[in-house]
């Protein structure tokens, strides 16, 4: 951190410290012990937090009795907790039930009476009706199978004026919405996601990322010749890294942006409508060294109640945010212990639990909630539902376990505000640094106080006015009596 401060500032600070012999604030203390996690305070410092999730089980292909996974790259969990693993290296889909017992392995499908297979598929999506969409990257196509794994349709390389002549269709991630439109993330496409209609025809691009221009690079480009310029890298928008779709049909996407917003929630027009009203915009780690840089998010998963989680491939961590953009908890990491990964590539929620897929090791880690995680999840859900009394109780339980969780105080404050306990509500809003709600509670509190003491206040004012008037009158008459005149 010291490096980022300009040298001058550090020196000035140092000089002042030496002159006055005043010590600045101490270092933050970190909790020791197993399972301790962290959160970020309003001031951007790292504060300790109990673990919300803990790894309980680890499965690989041979344990499951389906043969070792080879570079699996995606997984999907359906609403009835069936797990679909896309075993890319073996060109197959492995389906497990909620107890991780294999149900079925799909390595081929019948198309027009002929058997067809996958070639290095990268992306997998399962709809509400258990239809399977596979990004069959090696064959440059997207395959759509129904719930019985019969072939429905294939989306081949589209032909459109919007695409370049030498365009190569390499789909890597897919989702399908309720209207059976398919959204495809393809490599080398900078214009956003490719949208296909229910028949599989290409309609448009959606949600392109902004171009980030490096000022230094731009300067060099300005002063170089046409020939030189053609040799230089072009300014292109960053590609998306993953996408998921929520129950209402909004696409949540992550991208590899270093500077801009690396999580987006796209509406049908492709506008970013993610709420960023937390203390920091959702982006993974906000404190990092310059050498490692910010988080690189490669997967996103949306749970219920607008709670979403993102996977950081750089540090192997899974960050979870609520719909308002408040950072809830983080778990995972890179390493060799249970609950750490080598190359995490996909995350999915299975009810309350998390399944994380490791590509290189071909393993799945299952994370289950701790008491803290359960309470916090349930509190956020109750709050989202508008059940403020329940949220009040659960948030109170949460802060008993983790007093550092600042946004929880706002949840308590809102319930108190509804109950008419304005003074307590103000205290809680102050703790969560929520100025807008504090002001709301304060206005009501002020009105209450003024009403209660209106009689006393008015009496005091009237009495003060009367006394001062009387004093003036008395002084005047006294002067007149003494017969003193002023010039």
């Amino acid at each position: 951190m010291l490096k980022s401060l300009s040298n001058g500032k550090t020196l000035l600070l140092l000089a002042i410290c030496c002159l006055l012999g005043a010590a600045l604030g101490g270092e933050a203390a970190y909790a020791e012990g197993e399972g301790a996690s962290y959160n970020y305070s309003f001031w951007g410092t790292t504060v300790t937090s109990p673990a919300a999730y803990q790894a309980t089980d680890l499965y690989n292909g041979s344990d499951l009795g389906v043969g070792a996974f080879k570079e699996p790259s995606d997984l999907h969990v359906t609403a009835d907790n069936r797990i679909y693993v896309l075993d890319s290296g073996n060109n197959r889909i492995v389906i497990l039930d909620e107890r991780f017992k294999p149900v079925k392995v799909i390595d081929s499908f019948v198309r027009d009476g002929q058997a067809d297979t996958f070639a290095n598929p990268q992306g997998l999506f399962v709809t509400d009706r258990n239809e399977v969409i596979v990004a069959d990257t090696g064959h440059n196509r997207v395959v759509h199978l129904d719930s019985e794994f019969n072939w429905v349709k294939t989306i081949e390389a589209p032909e459109s004026d919007l695409l370049q002549a030498n365009f190569k269709f390499q789909p890597v991630r897919v989702v399908m919405d309720k209207a059976r439109r398919t959204y495809v993330m393809a490599t080398g496409v900078f214009d956003g996601f490719m949208e296909f209609n229910a028949e599989g025809a290409f309609t448009s691009f959606i949600g392109a990322n902004r171009v980030y221009i490096d000022p230094v690079e731009y300067f060099w480009k300005r002063i170089s010749t046409q020939a030189q310029r053609s040799q230089m890298v072009m300014f292109t928008p960053t590609e998306f890294t993953n996408l998921d779709i929520d129950g209402e049909g909004f696409i949540y996407a992550t991208n590899g942006d270093q500077w801009g917003d690396n999580i987006k929630k796209l509406n049908a027009q492709g506008n970013d409508i993610l709420r960023r009203t937390g203390y920091f915009s959702p982006q993974g780690d906000i404190r990092y060294t310059i050498e490692t840089g910010p988080s690189r998010l490669i997967d996103i998963d949306i749970g219920d109640s607008e709670i979403y989680s993102v996977l950081d491939s750089k540090r192997g961590r899974i960050f979870t945010y609520n719909g308002d953009g408040h950072f809830m908890y983080v778990f995972g990491g890179l390493g060799n212990l249970l609950g750490e990964f080598k190359t995490p590539t996909a995350i999915e929620r299975m009810g309350e639990d998390f399944v994380v897929l490791d590509k290189a090791l071909g393993e799945m880690t299952v994370f289950r909630t701790t008491a803290y995680g359960r309470t916090l999840n349930e509190a956020v859900r109750s709050y989202y539902r508008g059940d403020e009394q329940k949220a009040y109780e659960l948030f109170n339980e949460t802060i008993n376990m983790n007093a550092n969780l600042e946004f929880a105080y706002a949840g308590i404050g809102k319930a108190l505000l509804r109950q008419g306990n304005y003074e307590e509500a103000m205290k809680h809003f102050k703790r969560s640094m929520d100025q807008a709600n504090y002001s709301k509670a304060y206005l009501l509190h002020r009105k209450e106080v003024l009403r209660r003491y209106f009689g006393a206040i008015m009496t005091a004012i009237v009495a003060a006015a009367a006394i001062s008037l009387a004093a003036v009158a008395y002084r005047k008459s006294a002067r007149r009596k003494r017969g003193v005149t002023f010039e």
Binding site: I16, F42, Q435, Y442
Partner: protein, 208 residues
Amino acid sequence: MNKELVKFPFHLIVHPFNGYWDLKYDRGRKFNLIVSWIVLFLLAVTNILGAQYSGFLVNLYNPNEMNSLLEVVYVVVPVLFWCVANWSLTTLMDGEGKFVEIFTSTCYALIPIVVINLPWIWLSNVISLQETSFYYFSNAVAVLWFLFLLFVGNMTVHQFTAGKTLGIMALTVVAMGFMAFIGLLFFSLVQQIIAFISVIYQELAMRS
């Protein structure tokens, strides 16, 4: 005398042209210095109290970063920098003001900031978010008033024209920048020298 100590500064901030004239030609140096130091002290106190006790809606307060001594430094150092820079420039440019006069005129100019901000420390606790614009408006008025007094003070003390005063004030800010730079350079060098000496001492101590 005691009554004047309170009356004259208030007279000056509302009648700056007459007030500064009085300050330069009619008031004793000792009187001015007493008032100046009181104003500086009050300003520091205002800033410290403001940082600690201003309302939550206008002041997000992190107790870890609160340092009263630094608040004092933030008041005293800029004023001294300003005075030194202004004196250095005006001496070269036919200003009539002595250093003491520059210092006292600057301190008198700070009075509105104290007078306006001090009551707002309490007032900011009893306003809502919509009413904070009054707070920011008052702060802006205080600063503008201060700048106007600084301008009039400088003009009167040095007997400059208005245009020249504005020029000098701008140059003073530049000069302050230079001074800060040289100050940092100095501290950096001293630090290096100290480090060098301590390394030599370590070397000798470890060898023997």
